[in-house]
């Protein structure tokens, strides 16, 4: 029974190769709101299972989780399609929950760690929906010069991407800081791996972003998002920052 619950947890807090299930599903779903629901809901069963069984996590599972997270983080470096990238990042970030738990993060805080990444990823998925509505694709190979063509959408994408890759004041930053703080003494090698993983996310995120933003605009004119919608999304980012500050108080 214990083994079965671990396998189910490994599906929802994805360990390789179980993470392929989520990515295959996420890529098939084209509706933005379904994607958001998936991003918000997927890790929760895994967290609940871990909370209810309060398992002792063997060290090989921790190394496996780090391998899974690094594999998806590394693979995300060359991804040019936003949907695929969001799936890979989600897989990479959720796997860290195993490490957090093994390092001594409290069980009731695990859900905060999961949401710290799911929330900005969901916002990114919504913005990618805006992009797809305009260009019928979110593939950076066919869209370029977005900063020139759609400055408001670009600005929001930039800020959300920063939130996803764990930039300061956003919840993911404090979640990462907490995971590293807990693991550095208990599992120093793992902590080093988590630090490298953070670097991989930055590399892949900025690489993807600059392919989209840089250069002359593609010669198709699309209307940028309105001022009001920009303010709404902007407000969501402010809420994320407030959430980050709250998280810093709870976790650190």
């Amino acid at each position: 029974m214990q083994e079965l619950s671990w396998i189910v947890a490994g599906l929802f807090l994805p360990l390789f190769p179980l993470g392929m299930v989520f990515n295959a599903l996420f890529q098939r779903v084209r509706n933005v709101w379904l994607r958001v629901a998936l991003l918000l809901a997927w890790p929760l069963p895994g967290v609940w299972i871990l909370q209810s069984t309060t398992p002792f996590i063997p060290s090989w599972v921790v190394y496996w989780a780090l391998f899974s997270a690094m594999l998806y983080g590394f693979r995300a470096v060359v991804v040019k399609e936003f949907g695929v990238w969001i799936g890979f990042l989600a897989t990479s970030t959720w796997a860290l929950n195993w490490i957090a738990l093994a390092s001594g993060v409290e069980l009731d805080q695990l859900v905060l760690h999961a949401l710290a990444f799911s929330l900005p990823l969901s916002l990114l998925a919504i913005l990618v929906g805006e992009l797809e509505r305009r260009y019928e694709s979110a593939y950076t190979g066919v869209i370029s010069g977005l900063a020139k063509a759609q400055p408001r959408l670009s600005g929001l994408l930039v800020m959300t991407m920063l939130a996803v890759i764990g930039s300061p004041l956003f919840p993911a930053f404090f979640s990462m800081l907490d995971t590293i703080t807990h693991s550095v003494i208990v599992l120093p090698v793992i902590a080093l791996g988590v630090v490298m993983l953070w670097l991989l996310w930055s590399w892949s995120g900025i690489r993807l972003l600059q392919d989209l933003l840089a250069g002359p605009a593609v010669p198709v004119s699309h209307k940028d998002i309105s001022y009001g919608v920009t303010m709404t999304y902007g407000l969501s980012l402010v809420v994320l920052i407030i959430g980050g500050l709250y998280l810093s108080g709870v976790l650190l």
Binding site: V79, L177, V184, L192, L199, W203, I206, A214, L252
Partner: protein
């Protein structure tokens, strides 16, 4: 009566504390407010939105100057906490001094940009980013806890990325901004590890608490039973290396010129100096180390040498300036490595001012050169550009003796003015040595210069050198007293940088012998007209290839990155992109 006096004194101190807290908060928050307002009102105000940024830059500078004035009159440390665990703003001599420098450079860059950027699209965005960068830098130098420091340290990299790729149409700007970004991120990570190790050891994020507890227990051990101070010192040093473009982490600096000129000025005058600041901030950690500072010195030395060699061989002026900054940063880190921490702060300020002037003046020089192609020829032009040495020779033995002796006499005198026992400190000897090499090189260059009045020229050079050296040493001594008023602490920093005496003496003798032999040979060749080699040897050609490819460091990184990307692509294909 004494009680009343004490109470009055206490109240006045509290009042002073409160005013200082408000001033510091204003210094840090004003630029952020300006950034938000400039961006928010950009549609309504158009290009006039820059004036919001300019006014706040002025106010920030004035308040920062007030803080410094207050720090000069009372060298107390104040702290103000925004949140329960972090968000501590520290008011001490280092933070106030650095705040004034940052606010001054930022103000100049702001004023310069008003006209320089006027035709650029995204004018308001530029000023918003500039103000945000100023605020972040101010937050970084005033951070009183590790989390605030980490946040500011990280944000500087992010904002610099967006300033460097301000021209969104330019793909090279994005490419080289990415190099900067990734190097900065690499530098963030050791600082992060250092922070969490300190937190674990002392159960606090506050710098004051950590430094106090470390002083009480300097032999604290950390992971793998390693000495905490050594591990944290090494990690902080690596973070400083990435930020200050030390060798192997330098490639972003010479290529980051694709950004607007004011950004280059701000970067070279301010941001890149953060490494020197960081080492100074963690001085209480470095005094507890024994093996970190010598290798900090070695890295600084390597950077100074490689940076200078690459600067001399560039045919692109902007890249030459970039490598010049790299060489200067190497020198700054080297100063930290010999224990002259406050000298590094003085160096970064002096370098910031002259490099900022060079960048901001570059546009005017180029404009002038476009109007007038005929550069007036004078002895200096002949010497520097056409490299024509003097026809008439001065007595070489006399000149050789002057080259070697005059700088050392001036330097020894200047050091003696501020500390009679300077020769007992290895760090002071090393600095003396480099001062001597620089001075000797200056006189050597004069020897080769064509002039009608050689005696006058040489005496002018010697007087200038003496003024510079005495001024430099006196000012750096004043910095020493301001930043590290505790004499025992200063001595401990020098002690932490000390290496085995036999090794030290052997190295000094060896390097002196090599340099003196090189000078004597050059003098001798000059005198006998053998300065031009007729045949280029394969060794020389190989060396030329090496430096023309910038020691293949960039090539290696590009190749390595491509291999990694190819591997990631291969993995994705195998795993069907899921």
């Amino acid at each position: 009566m004494p009680c009343a006096s004490l109470r009055n004194k206490g109240e006045s101190c509290e009042e002073n504390n409160r005013i200082m807290q408000q001033l510091i908060l204003l210094v840090i928050t004003l630029p952020f407010i300006s950034a938000v307002l400039t961006q928010l009102f950009s549609d309504r105000l158009g290009r006039r939105s820059a004036s919001v940024s300019i006014v706040t830059a002025w106010l920030t500078f004035l308040f920062a100057a007030l803080c410094l004035w207050s720090a000069l009159s009372s060298p107390e440390v104040y702290e103000y906490s925004l949140f329960s665990h972090w968000g501590v703003i520290r008011f001490d001599s280092l933070s106030t001094l650095m705040s004034v420098v940052i606010a001054a450079i930022s103000l100049i860059v702001h004023l310069y940009s008003v006209r320089y950027m006027i035709e650029e699209p995204g004018y308001a965005r530029f000023f918003a980013l500039l103000s945000a960068m100023t605020g972040t830098l101010l937050l970084m130098v005033a951070a009183g806890d590790l989390i605030t420091l980490l946040i500011a340290w990280h944000l500087v990299g992010i904002l610099l990325y967006f300033l460097l790729c301000f021209d969104t149409r330019s793909r090279p700007a994005f490419r080289y901004a990415f190099w900067t970004w990734i190097t900065y991120r690499i530098g963030d990570l050791p600082l992060l590890l250092a922070a969490v190790l300190l937190y674990h050891a002392f159960d606090s994020w506050s710098l004051s608490v950590i430094f106090e507890r470390l002083a009480a227990a300097p032999d604290t051990l950390t992971i793998f039973q390693l000495p905490l101070a050594e591990v944290v010192g090494s990690l902080v040093a690596v973070a400083a290396f990435a930020r200050s473009a030390q060798f192997l982490l330098h490639t972003w600096l010479p290529y980051s010129m694709s950004g607007p000129t004011p950004v280059s000025a701000l970067m070279h005058a301010g941001i890149v100096n953060a490494g020197g600041f960081l080492i100074n901030r963690f001085a209480p950690v470095f005094v507890e180390t024994s093996s970190v500072l010598p290798w900090v010195f070695a890295v600084g030395l390597a950077t100074a040498v490689f940076g200078s060699v690459l600067m001399l061989t560039q045919n692109d002026v902007k890249k030459a300036l970039g490598y010049s900054t790299m060489g200067q940063m190497g020198f700054m880190i080297m100063e930290c490595g010999v224990g002259a921490f406050s000298l590094a702060i003085y160096h970064l300020i002096a370098h910031g001012l002259f490099k900022g002037t060079l960048f901001l003046g570059a546009g005017g020089v180029i404009g002038e050169a476009r109007k007038n192609y005929n550069v007036p020829k004078d002895p200096l032009y002949n010497f520097v550009v056409e490299k024509n040495p003097a026809r008439g020779r001065k007595p070489w033995l006399l000149m050789a003796a002057m080259t070697l002796l005059v700088p050392i006499v001036i330097l020894a005198f200047a050091h003696w003015l501020v500390a009679q026992d300077f020769y007992q400190k290895q760090g002071a000897i090393v600095l003396l040595f480099f001062g001597w090499v620089t001075g000797a090189q200056l006189i050597f260059a004069t020897y080769r210069m064509r002039t009608d009045k050689p005696r006058r020229l040489i005496s002018q050079v010697i007087v200038s050198f003496a003024v510079v050296v005495v001024g430099y040493i006196l000012i750096s001594h004043a910095f020493d007293l301001f930043l590290y008023p505790d004499e025992e602490f200063r001595a401990r920093i020098y002690a932490a940088a000390t290496i085995n005496v036999i090794w030290f003496d052997a190295l000094v003798v060896l390097i002196t012998a090599v340099i003196v032999a090189g000078w004597l040979r050059t003098y001798y060749n000059e005198r006998n007209g053998q300065c031009k080699d007729k045949v280029i040897s394969p060794l020389w050609l190989g060396f030329y290839t090496l430096i023309s490819r910038e020691f293949y460091v960039n090539d290696f990184y590009v190749l390595f990155t491509r291999r990694l990307e190819a591997l990631a692509t291969r993995l994705n294909i195998w795993l069907r992109w899921v």
